[in-house]
């Protein structure tokens, strides 16, 4: 066999320019969508506060809150699973924080540790059930959504007789640990920084580490991945723990910032997180996606929500417009991706 001779270059491979390489990235659609949405609201509401510093800070804060959870959810979706219980976890962790600090007098760091510990345990349970029973994670985490929310309401009412626990501000005045989660630079909340840091970590793990390769493999084909030695079960369990922890992080930030916890916190966030991931280029079927894209997905969602208010759209029509804009963003996103991967 002639292995040392020069072989004819595969004639079907041509030099692809930088543009084409960029176009192939899953994030492109999300970036495009975000820019379009920004331009839209800059036109409609630029003089009504959308372009002001304060205005930018408000939509960035909204984006950061959903983006915190969206990054982890995107990774889990790339691995082929859903976590519908993150919204309820935000509520549950909020109550652990609020009751711990305001009612039980815990120091802040104890409450924070308890909230994260609780989340990691629940995340582990979610993951374990999904990998052991092989039931669709959609169903398993849907059940957990109800269980968590119900337990939150039940225990809170039993302990405090109320559904909302205030008084956290008073108990955390001047606490340095609380400051890590609530600091502000001008009108900008530190939650924005948390969001970007988490997104950077998620991107790094996904694209540059072995674990990230396993995430893609597990989502692309769990069987094929298992056959070559990828510990698919372990990967998924870790990711479920990560989504629960990101929900706890948001809960900690919200309770310390807003000074109270209520049993309904986080309702609906699970769907917002999924929307964020999908706008960002993550496939619902798994195996493909981007954490950077989820950043732009969160940005799109934040700009859309607050932009509609800046634009003065009558609130009766708010939900219709939100849905329409999201649909357009997703369509643009998928159109751009199709054009890019089709070539030409």
């Amino acid at each position: 066999m002639a292995s040392a001779e020069a072989r004819p270059v595969d004639e079907r491979v041509r030099r692809v320019g930088l543009t084409r390489t960029l176009l192939n990235r899953p994030e492109l659609g999300a970036v495009t969508g975000a820019i379009l949405v920004w331009v839209l609201f800059a036109i409609l509401a630029g003089d009504r506060g959308f372009l002001s510093l304060n205005g930018t800070a408000t939509y960035l804060e909204v984006a950061a809150q959903v983006g915190l959870v969206g990054s982890a959810v995107a990774l889990l979706m790339i691995a082929g699973e859903f976590d519908l219980s993150v919204g309820s976890m935000i509520g549950a962790a909020s109550m652990v924080m609020a009751i711990g600090i305001a009612e039980l007098g815990w120091p802040v760091y104890v409450a924070v540790a308890a909230a994260f510990g609780f989340a990691l345990v629940v995340g582990f349970i979610n993951g374990y059930i999904v990998v052991k029973t092989r039931l669709p994670s959609f169903i398993v985490t849907l059940g957990m959504l109800f269980i968590l929310r119900g337990v939150t309401i039940g225990i809170t009412r039993a302990l405090t007789g109320r559904t909302q626990v205030p008084g956290v501000h008073a108990a955390t005045e001047g606490d340095p640990i609380a400051a890590i989660f609530t600091a502000q630079l001008g009108p900008f909340d530190v939650v924005i920084l948390w969001w970007l840091v988490i997104a950077a970590v998620a991107t790094f793990v996904l694209m540059r580490t072995t674990f990230g390769n396993w995430i893609f493999g597990a989502g692309g084909s769990a069987i094929a991945a298992r056959n070559v030695g990828v510990p698919v079960a372990r990967v998924k369990i870790v990711l479920f723990m990560a989504t629960a922890a990101s929900a706890a992080l948001l809960a900690v930030i919200q309770v310390l910032t807003f000074g109270s916890g209520d049993v309904l916190r986080g309702e609906g966030k699970e769907f917002e997180a999924i929307i964020t991931a999908v706008i960002g280029g993550t496939l619902l079927t798994g195996g493909y996606g981007s954490a950077i894209g989820a950043v732009f997905g969160a940005l799109t969602l934040g700009m859309t929500r607050q932009g509609l208010f800046f634009a003065g759209i009558s609130s009766d029509w708010y939900q219709a417009f939100l849905g329409l804009l999201l649909l357009i963003a997703v369509i643009v996103n998928s159109w751009v991706r199709n054009r890019a991967t089709r070539g030409g």
Binding site: N54, T58, F309
Partner: protein
């Protein structure tokens, strides 16, 4: 890369609709025509009640009437569900848009305090309505238009005690709202300090709410009084009483009005309903903040301006029914 034509069409359609939606919120707003200073004023209302809620749509009607009467621009905003962080963000957004006045409800002072403070620091006049009667002063808000919840609850309890009721349930349909918690507490107080079992139901799920109330009724035969805190609790409660056959032995009263409530009053099936006259909350809230912004006038000396409790009974139900059909009560 050519964009498909239909995509451009969708984008244009979106812009057109958005532009229409924008104008809807600002009738009679002439750009730079300069006569009548009230025409250039813009007020933002942020409440925790969705316009799809029957109670809050009456508030929104009051708001809109004030807008028309005064000839100013008013926006009404609320989060889609009971979501305090989202509401705080709406207030932040409102502040960033630099309105001439802000009207808010305060179901959770801790959560909303910072955002309201930012509004006051930015020099925006703020008036609160509906919830927050015990916290508005500390926050630096000009005045509160509404009904003090605890006292209204006491009034309800007293009336029920007069009717001979001894053992009660209090149905809370918006778990998380401090004002509602206060109503139940006041109710128990007005009954002579007898605790009232609180049953929580989901305001978005009438069938589930009805089932929950029926279950509470059948768990305890000695219950002879039922208080609900809103129409989304009252309607299922009336149905639950019918279904469980206890309509004769249990006195039912409620906060706030709805068509079913008024009909029940008219038919004598309900003892009374407490009307906080939320139309006035919307109307007066906008009026007061506008006149403060224009002329610095403020009625009430900083004390809450009470719009309730007004008691609707079987005697005056008929008249109220007519007004309710117009979305005023």
């Amino acid at each position: 890369m050519k964009a498909p034509r239909w995509l451009a069409g969708v984008a244009v359609l979106g812009l057109v609709l958005a532009a229409c939606g924008t104008q809807e919120a600002s009738p009679g707003d002439d750009d730079g025509n300069g006569d009548g200073s009230s025409r250039d004023l813009r007020i933002v209302v942020v409440t925790h009640g969705q316009a799809s809620d029957p109670f809050w749509s009456v508030v929104a009607n009051g708001v809109n009437q004030a807008r028309d009467d005064l000839g100013i621009e008013v926006e009404y905003n609320a989060p889609e569900t009971f979501d305090m962080p989202a509401m705080a963000q709406l207030i932040d957004t409102a502040v960033a848009s630099e309105p001439d006045g802000l009207v808010v409800s305060i179901p959770d002072a801790d959560a909303l305090g910072a955002s309201i403070q930012a509004a006051i620091d930015a020099g925006i006049p703020v008036v609160s309505i509906n919830s927050g009667s015990d916290v508005y002063r500390d926050l630096g808000i000009l005045t509160h238009v509404g009904q003090t919840e605890f006292e209204a609850g006491v009034g309800a309890g007293q009336r029920m005690a007069e009717a001979g009721v001894t053992n009660t349930i209090c149905v809370n349909q918006e778990v998380g709202n401090v004002a509602l918690d206060l109503r139940c507490e006041g109710f128990a107080e007005g009954l002579g300090g007898v605790p009232s079992e609180v049953v929580a139901v989901d305001l978005a799920d009438p069938a589930g709410a009805q089932a929950g109330i029926e279950a509470a009724l059948s768990a305890d035969d000695s219950i002879d009084g039922l208080l609900t805190l809103g129409p989304t609790g009252a309607d299922p409660a009336l149905a639950a009483l019918e279904a469980s056959g206890r309509a004769g032995d249990v006195q039912i009263a409620t906060f706030d009005l709805s068509e079913n409530v008024l009909n029940a009053l008219d038919a004598g099936e309900m003892l009374f309903a407490i009307d906080q006259q939320q139309y006035l909350q919307g109307y007066l809230g906008v009026l007061i903040v506008t006149q403060f912004a224009q002329y610095g006038l403020l009625p009430g000396g900083g004390n809450p301006i009470l719009t309730g409790p007004g008691f609707v009974t079987p005697e005056n139900a008929a008249q109220v029914i007519e007004l309710s059909a117009e979305g005023i009560r």
